[in-house]
Every structure is written in C-alpha cells, then in structure tokens.
C-alpha cells in the first residue's frame, strides 16, 4: 500500500504544506484563494479598520478646521479696497463709463444719473451675459441681445428675459472723484 513519503526530517518550514504534500503549483486554485498562511490572508483586523476610520475622519476634521480658519482670517481683512473710477467732471449727466473693479474683474458700468448721483452695475446681462448698454434718457439699461431691460436706478429687471437684478457696485464720491468701494454678491 502506498503512503506519502516525508522530506528530510527536522523542523517545519514557514509555509504550510498541502495535505497531499505535493508541489504548490499542482494545487487547485481555491487553495490560493483561501490560504492557510496568515501572511497571504487579506485579513483586516478590527483594530486596523478602526485605525483607518479614525485617522481618515480625523483628516477630514482637520481639513474642515483649516477651511474654517482660512474663512475667519479672510473675513477679518477688508474684502475691497476703494479704488478711483472716474473724476466727477469726466462724466456728463446721463453719460456712462466702463471700468473694472477690482483689478481684472469683468467690466462694470458707471452711470451718472444726475449732478450728485452715480450708480454702477455689472455690465453683464443676468440672462446670458451680453454686455448691457445704457439708455439713461429712458431711465433704463438695455441688453440688445434678447431685448432685456433693467431699471437704471435699482438694476432690477423690467422687461425681456432677465429675471435677476444686475449686481450692484457700491460707489462713493469723495473730493470730486468717484470711488468704487464694494461689489454686491
């Protein structure tokens, strides 16, 4: 009767041996999928999982705190520095001028309504972003693309497709110069 034979006697090796003591290559595939050796087993211990979960969520918390800190620090410094836009004398009543504020922004539109009143808005129509043209004589701003109309005093949409108000730019007259001081929204 045949029996399995033993390799040279002595201490056992680091790898487990299949029951037939045959070569590893000759073993069925499931034996590789369900290894007996601890190192080959994709086992995630409870402690490892907890460590992973705690450290990952900790990293999220730190990230959130960092964002909060950034926000708080940013809120402290003034968002807009006043910048001169035009001299009062530069614009006749009913005239308009485009400018950028702050530096590099989309174009804004400054309109002189009467001797003392200046208003400024984004020049982009709130419908599809066409540049608006002033129609101060009618008390309106006009977007020629789709015939949209805005109230020049408030920036509110009056007619046509635009539904939202034009974002306002705060302006202020100081010593004969018009300064932009802030942007809405």
């Amino acid at each position: 009767m045949s029996r399995a034979t033993l390799e040279a006697p002595g201490p056992i090796g680091p790898r487990s041996i299949p029951p037939d003591r045959g070569p590893v290559a000759a073993q069925p595939r499931w034996r590789r999928d369900f290894p007996i050796d601890s190192d080959d087993d994709d086992y995630v211990s409870r402690r490892d999982l907890l460590k992973y979960v705690v450290l990952t969520s900790g990293a999220f918390v730190v990230g959130q705190l960092w964002i909060l800190l950034k926000t708080l620090l940013r809120a402290r410094e003034p968002a807009f520095q006043p910048a001169p836009v035009a001299g009062v004398d530069e614009l006749a009543v009913g005239a308009a001028k485009t400018f950028t504020y702050p530096q590099g922004s989309p174009p804004r539109l400054l309109v002189r309504l009467d001797a003392a009143t200046f208003v400024a808005y984004d020049q982009q129509c709130t419908h599809l972003g066409c540049p608006i043209v002033p129609a101060v004589a009618q008390g309106k701003l006009h977007c020629p693309c789709h015939n949209g109309w805005f109230d020049v005093r408030t920036g509110a949409p009056l007619a046509g497709p635009p539904q939202r108000r034009l974002p306002r730019v705060d302006v202020e007259v100081r010593d004969g110069v018009v300064y932009a001081t802030g942007v809405e929204g």
Binding site: P11, I12, P14, R15, S16, I17, P19, R21, D37, S38
Partner: protein, 211 residues
Amino acid sequence: MPVPEKLEFFVDASRCIGCQSCVQACAECATHKGQSMIQLDYLDRQRSTQTIPVVCMHCDTPTCAEVCPADAIKRTEDGVVQSARKPRCIACNNCVLACPFGVPKMNSRMNLMMKCDMCYDRTSVGLRPMCASVCPSQALAFGTREEMARLRPRARAVNSFQIGRQLIRTKVNVMVPLELPDEIVDVTAAMYEPSIGHDPLDAMAPLEEEP
C-alpha cells in the same frame, strides 16, 4: 514578533503525573480567562492512571484550517496555528471533528472554537507557555533541542506522524524512547487488530488503485 526558532515545545507523556497544573495554568491566562485550551486525557482509564496532556501540535498541514469553511484558522510563519479568528468563526465544529490529534474544542457558550496557540502572547516574546512553565515533571517542556538532549539522554524528539494516509509534520515534538527505530510515529497502527486481520487502511485500498 515570531516565536524564536531555537525554542521548541516537547511533550513527554510518560512523564505526565496527571496533576492538572497545566489545565489550571492555561485557564488562568488573561487572554482566554476561564477556558483551558489544554486537555488532560486518560490513556486507558480502566487499566491505568496514565494521563496525556494534549496541546496543539501545530501541524505544517493543519487539518483544522483545511476544513474550516469560514477561513478562520490561520498559521503564522513561525509555524504556530492560531486559534480561530473570533469575527470569522461560525462554530460549525468541523475543526473539532477533523483534527487528527483531537485538539480543538468548541466553546458553545461563546460560539467560538478556542484552541491552544502555544501561548502566542508569551512565546512570541521568548517566554515559556503557561503549561510548560508550571509542569512539575516537565512532561511539557519548552526549550532548545540541545538542552533537551542533555537533560533526557534516553529519549529523542519526533515530530512526524502517520495518521491513516495523512503524513503530518508538527512544530511540537513528542519524546519517544531512544531505541524506537522509526522516524515517523504511526498513530493509526494501534488500530490494527491482528486477530481479525483488520487494517483500517485496507478499507481505503480500492481508492488508491484509481488513477
């Protein structure tokens, strides 16, 4: 940290005096409070008081792990077959039935198989297992091979076992008389009954002839 390679476990049943110290020491261990992972078996209760301490032999072909459907029993690279992983063990009893040495026992209250892991928390840092540290007759001994050869000149350590057609090499050594010629202890040879000419392996003979 693996168990130091030069330290080995030696079991000499002929030295066992049945004092139950190992069982008590094992049960007191903090990692498995109250449950002993070592058993003291009687060889032949009717005729003898001889007892045998049963620790896990830590096979290189762990049958318990082979039969585990939940993939719960794993063997570390130092050759120690670990106790069932608690989150995986489904208490199916397969290992209990399959182990040729009768080591695993089911803890049905915890629905968990707990078996001797050679006190991995102790041996992996170079300490002796609980049972070996308390055994008064050193039937359970943990030390180097040279030490054992010096202390027990009339015995030698064997770690190969033939069980039916299964050949098993173990991490734990069994002390046998020096004059025993075999390298391999044939465990199932005891089942051979000459009076009826019965060899348990004969029943398997037709299987072997198949390709």
